[in-house]
Symmetry: C2
Subunit: 179 residues, 2 copies
Amino acid sequence: LSSPWRALLQRALDANAHLKHSTFFQLATVGAAGRPANRTVVFRGFQEQCDKIQINTDARSNKIGEIREWPLGEICWYFTDSWEQFRISGIIDVIDGSSLDPAKLQQREKAWFASSVKSRSQYLGQSPGVPVANDDHIKDVHIDPSAGPVDAYCLLTLDPEKVDYVNLKSNQRLMFTRT
Amino acid sequence: LSSPWRALLQRALDANAHLKHSTFFQLATVGAAGRPANRTVVFRGFQEQCDKIQINTDARSNKIGEIREWPLGEICWYFTDSWEQFRISGIIDVIDGSSLDPAKLQQREKAWFASSVKSRSQYLGQSPGVPVANDDHIKDVHIDPSAGPVDAYCLLTLDPEKVDYVNLKSNQRLMFTRT
């Protein structure tokens, strides 16, 4: 059984599905010296059998070290067509190839193969470069579609603890806290 | 003379002006116990003669106390039509009616009168309620259009220190740091 806010989120995803950016949200974390950091990332679905939100990222990006140091995050997801906002806070797990947990390595592999081949080729470049918010600009790079995750590929999962929902059309506000 | 990133931002605002949400961005701050907080707010223009970004907020909302304690913020502003992202970090100043600085009180008054009468009436309610991301849902409340700011009205200004710009169409990335 999934959490009650999942139905609301699914409805919002459906209602905004015609917009490319409907799967983009802003992930806030806390960096060195307590500096807030905020960037656009792409929703890569939920981890199977639970509510953890998946995000693909480059293991070489600054945020990885920052999140390992301080694993709290808050997603702000605004749906521009339905005027709904979800603020989702929780603990972030960083899963790269160095993980010692076989279950996590398997999740990472699953998420890797769930990405488009084009999107995977992003991790073959020399540096993290521009954010992964879309993969349209990626030049064709030869990548074996059956090859597993490369070192630079890192899966983040955010485990929702609190969800603050607001609908700016109906003026409705709902708060969910994991019990 | 304004900062070089201002021209980029103005171009993005113009290119996306047909979208109601083009003036919405996500503001990340750090709350109690180092928890990241992230919410959608509305761009209310720059303060005159400088690059400070103005945001209207309710003095009774949680974020006010949090920002006073830890005044760092990072804006993530994604333009959905032109595929441009601005990450703008800096120090936030909280200006409510209790400020002792006449210049700041004047700024607050100016920002108050720059808001629509409908938007101002939002601050007359009993509680902060839903975010100020749009004022379409506000019921007509009698407010004297010539009356100055009410107690609940609070102006935030974020003074940009670093701007990280990325254009996902051209794959261009630019960083600006205040000198």
